[in-house]
Each structure stands twice: as structure tokens, then as C-alpha cells.
């Protein structure tokens, strides 16, 4: 009875407005897996019942990105990284205050408050899409980054992250990366800047030490988002001292994730055909002291 009555008001698919909740459900169905309330992925701000006019994907939903989304009439924003400045992402953190200061946000934090007001005023909805997007077997986070660097056709094996790139010195390869990713001051290099680079291991996001330890003899250069300096940076410095002609390049976590979220916008076009999907870059956050 409820179903019959509902058919008239809600309509069949395509007849009623496409809500953010319906888009999220479709993404969840397409990507599969469990979507627990306690997981990182899910709605972070805005009203899930909002009718979606357009979708914006981004590596990080900064205020600048949200303003651009509103201007582009994309009121559903899918972000890879948190919106509210940490893993808790606006929730009350379970971790008590430690010696490094309280974890999470104060309820009256002026920056978070202004961000929430901007979201509300523009009728935006923010949804975090990280774990399930990164878990896709197509691995667009990697292929997207390779594509942005012009290395799509240079992948050594389809199930690995090695690429055979045009032979150049480490410095020349860095210049290429800077230009392709439109970097400002975030990129840092360690190791032999004159090394001839032919084989590269690409790794968007944060790379753990084990990957470096296990694979450094296979590659001339690691190109990654970020590492811990007292782990992988330290290792790369020791490789250099040991006389090996290799380099570690960290481009910045967020910029390494941007191309994967650009690929996400392209994927959405095949999943949500009713509204446009576009990618909005958060940009390289850093400039250099000079």
C-alpha cells in the first residue's frame, strides 16, 4: 500500500529530482563493499535530500574548492580527503586530549563555522569518497596520476605501479613532473639528482617504508605523494650515501591524489548520467620560503 501510494509522489527513476542520497546509493552499489557508519566515507556536511544539480570531485574540499563548485552549479562535492581538518572529519573524536593538544575541532572553531555556513548558504552537500574509490581494481588513483604525467602507455605490467619513462636525469624528470602537475613549492627531492631515470615507481598518497625497502633496487626513482621523513626520506638519503644512483621525489599528498579524483569525475559520468560531473583541483598548498 505504501509502495503504491509512493509511486505517485516519488515517481519512477528519472521522473523525480535526483537527490544526493540517491547519487550516494548509486555510487555505493557500483563500488560495492561495506559502508559502515563508522567508516571514513560518507556524508560530511549538507542535506542528503538535496536535489543534485551537478557533481564536483576533488582531492580536498577546501573553501576555495567549495566556492568554485557552487559557482559551477555543482552542489554535490565528492572529496578524497577530509573536509573538517582531520580524520575525525567533523565528528566528535573518541581520542582524549593528549600532550600535543586536543584532537579534533572546537565546537566554536571560526574556520569550521565559516565553512559550514558557506556549505549551507550555497545548498552544498559534501560526501567523502576515499576508501571505496581507492579500492577499485582499476586503480584510477594510480592510472590517473600516470595519465597526468603522460606515462599511461609506459606501464610495465597492468597489476603493478612501475613505469618505464623517457630516459632523463632525475632533475629533468622532476622538471617534467612539476610542469605536468602544475606544482608550486611542495615537491622535494632526495638522492642523486644526476641519476639517469628510466624506471619509476608511482605511488599516490602516503607510501610506507616496506615498499621502499622491498622495491628500491628495481627503480631509478620513486614518485610518491608523501612519506615520513624519519623513515623513507632517511632511507633514500642512505641509498645516496651508499653510492646508488636513485632518487625519491615527494610531490605532496594532495597533488598526488588530484588526477585520481579527476578520473573519478569521468567515471561518474558513466554512473550518474542525469547531471554533469566535473573535477576541481585543490592545488599545491605550498610555497617556498626564499
Amino acid at each position: 500500500m505504501a509502495g503504491a501510494a509512493g509511486a505517485g509522489t516519488l515517481g519512477v527513476r528519472g521522473a523525480g529530482p535526483l537527490t544526493a542520497e540517491a547519487v550516494a546509493r548509486r555510487i555505493q552499489t557500483e563500488l560495492g563493499g561495506e559502508w559502515p557508519e563508522t567508516g571514513a566515507d560518507g556524508f560530511k556536511a549538507g542535506e542528503p535530500s538535496t536535489a543534485v544539480t551537478g557533481i564536483a570531485t576533488t582531492a580536498m574540499a577546501t573553501i576555495d574548492v567549495l566556492k568554485q563548485a557552487a559557482k559551477a552549479n555543482a552542489n554535490l562535492v565528492l572529496t578524497y580527503e577530509p573536509t573538517f581538518y582531520g580524520h575525525a572529519d567533523g565528528r566528535t573524536p573518541a581520542v582524549p586530549a593528549g600532550r600535543r593538544g586536543p584532537v579534533g575541532l572546537n565546537a566554536d572553531d571560526p574556520v569550521a563555522k565559516a565553512k559550514r555556513e558557506l556549505i549551507q548558504k550555497n545548498g552544498l552537500v559534501v560526501f567523502r569518497l576515499r576508501d571505496h574509490w581507492a579500492a577499485r581494481k582499476e586503480n584510477e588513483m594510480l592510472t590517473g596520476l600516470a595519465g597526468a604525467l603522460g606515462w599511461s602507455k609506459r606501464r610495465v605490467a597492468n597489476d603493478d605501479s612501475l613505469f618505464d619513462v623517457p630516459a632523463a636525469t632525475a632533475e629533468e624528470t622532476v622538471a617534467h613532473i612539476r610542469a605536468k602537475l602544475n606544482l608550486r613549492g611542495g615537491l622535494r627531492g632526495v638522492g642523486d639528482r644526476k641519476a639517469t631515470v628510466r624506471r619509476v615507481l608511482l605511488y599516490p598518497g602516503s607510501m610506507t617504508p616496506a615498499i621502499m625497502w622491498q622495491r628500491y633496487t628495481e627503480v631509478d626513482m620513486f614518485v610518491v605523494g608523501e612519506v615520513r621523513e624519519w623513515e623513507n626520506t632517511h632511507y633514500a638519503a642512505d641509498i645516496f650515501t651508499a653510492g646508488q644512483k636513485r632518487a625519491l621525489i615527494t610531490v605532496g599528498r594532495v597533488v598526488s591524489e588530484e588526477p585520481g579524483m579527476r578520473a573519478c569525475a569521468n567515471w561518474l559520468k558513466t554512473v550518474v548520467k542525469e547531471v554533469p560531473a566535473t573535477w576541481i583541483g585543490a592545488g599545491d598548498p605550498y610555497w617556498r620560503a626564499s
Partner: protein, 259 residues
């Protein structure tokens, strides 16, 4: 005097209870009963630093950070690793011995890492600084100008900054290494060594980008882990000299790793 006896003296002089359960503050390589010819203090046990310590006749290294590229100096996955073998062979062949002082340094009053960091970035009055972050007030300047002063004072190559370079700043929070303080309402600038860029306990980078978009005067200055804690190990060496008199003690810096 053996390396073990040196460490016993450090424990006695550190000015607080010693936590024997610290996994960080332990011997990492070499024989603790080695006779100490000289002590090198350093921020990180790099291979390059080991070469220079050995050349200077210093066989005991006291480091603030790790030797084997992970916080716990866990070597179970490294036993077949060529770089692990090369580094360990160099240490053992040359009768060297490595000990780490991290957790207890950060509990000391003052915390030499913070004292050294404040001096490195050109902030005066930090001689008694401790780990808990506090605001340091400098004459008002712009974020860009201040970053330039920090670069000139620290001689670091790769200082990364976030925020509007024209923002007027004077209230500075400073933390060493990975203990980059979180931005607060009272602070204009956070200075740290390193920090996960996003999805951590508190993401300074995104927070300051957003604050800048709102026209608020906020900035982040990331020194790099080595630069942020380097100078503190020079102070640590001076402190060792107050109770170890008959062994040469030298500060042997770890090089900033970045181009």
C-alpha cells in the same frame, strides 16, 4: 668508560624517572660494553653521519631519531636488505655503538630539541623551553618576511609554507619533529618539522588554506624533520659535557636530505 656506563650517567642526570619500557630509547647496534673513545651527538643516524663520526674517532653515537628507517628500529623485515647489511657492517666493523635518546629528551626541562629549534628559526628567549607548545611573540611582520627570516636563520634549503605571504603575523607556535602543533585561535603561525598532509589528528595544511581563503592571518612553516631537531643535539652534547669529562664529545649533524 663503556657505552653502557655513559647511558647510566645520562639516566642519572636526566632529572626524572627513567622509563625502561621506552622502545625508542635503547641501544640499536653494536656492543654496549664497548669502550667509548668519543661520543657523537646527532639528530639522525644517517650513513653519511656515521662515516663522519668514524673519521673523527667517535665510536659512540647518541641520536634523537632512528637508525633503521622506522620508529621502532624494527629490523625483522630488513635482515636480507642490502642497505641494512651495509650500514650494520659499517657500525660493527668499526667498533661503533648506537644509542637513541628520544622520549626522555622530550620530557626533560628544558627540552633541547625545542630550545634548539627556537634558536634555529631566530626566535629569542627560548633557553628554557619545554615540549608543551606555547605562543612566542615576535615583532609583527608578514608571513612571507618571517618565512624568509626563518630560512636565513636556519640555513635550510627546503622550507615549505602555507598561507597568504602578505598576512600580518606575530604569535608563533613551535613544535619539533613530527610533533607539529595544531593551529589555535591564539596563534598566527605554526612551525613544525613535518606532519602528515591530510587525514591526521589535525590537518594544519587544509585549516590554514581555508583560514587564508577567509582572510584570516594564519600560516604554516614546515622546516623538515632534520632541521627542526638538529640544533637540539648540539645542546645535548654540551649537556653531556657537564657530567662526562674525560671523553671527547662532538655534535655531528645529519645533513638536510632535500635538494
Amino acid at each position: 668508560m663503556t657505552a653502557r656506563e655513559v647511558v647510566d650517567l645520562i639516566k642519572k642526570n636526566a632529572g626524572g624517572p627513567w622509563n625502561e619500557r621506552s622502545y625508542r630509547d635503547t641501544f640499536k647496534a653494536g656492543d654496549p660494553d664497548t669502550a667509548v673513545a668519543g661520543i657523537a651527538t646527532t639528530m639522525m643516524v644517517t650513513l653519511d653521519m656515521l662515516h663522519r663520526a668514524h673519521a673523527a674517532g667517535l665510536n659512540m653515537v647518541i641520536s634523537h631519531e632512528d637508525t633503521y628507517w622506522n620508529d621502532r628500529d624494527d629490523t625483522k623485515d630488513l635482515t636480507a636488505n642490502p642497505l641494512y647489511k651495509l650500514k650494520t657492517d659499517f657500525i660493527l666493523k668499526n667498533g661503533m655503538i648506537i644509542w637513541r635518546d628520544h622520549d626522555h629528551m622530550h620530557s626533560m626541562k628544558p627540552d633541547f630539541t625545542v630550545v634548539g629549534e627556537l634558536r634555529s628559526v631566530g626566535i629569542k628567549g627560548g633557553e628554557n623551553a619545554v615540549m608543551a607548545p606555547r605562543i612566542w611573540t615576535i615583532p609583527e611582520t608578514t608571513l612571507g618576511e618571517f618565512a624568509a627570516q626563518v630560512k636565513a636563520a636556519s640555513h635550510a634549503r627546503a622550507i615549505r609554507c602555507v598561507g597568504d605571504p602578505k598576512a600580518k603575523v606575530s604569535r608563533i607556535l613551535v613544535g619539533p619533529g613530527y610533533a607539529t602543533p595544531r593551529m589555535t585561535a591564539e596563534a598566527d603561525v605554526v612551525i613544525g618539522g613535518e606532519q602528515q598532509e591530510a587525514d591526521g589528528a589535525f590537518d594544519n595544511v587544509e585549516y590554514v588554506m581555508d583560514a587564508a581563503s577567509l582572510g584570516m592571518a594564519k600560516g604554516v612553516i614546515m622546516l623538515g624533520h632534520v632541521i627542526s631537531e638538529q640544533a637540539g643535539m648540539e645542546d645535548y652534547g654540551k649537556w653531556l659535557r657537564t657530567f662526562i669529562h674525560d671523553i671527547p664529545i662532538q655534535f655531528v649533524p645529519a645533513e638536510e636530505p632535500f635538494w
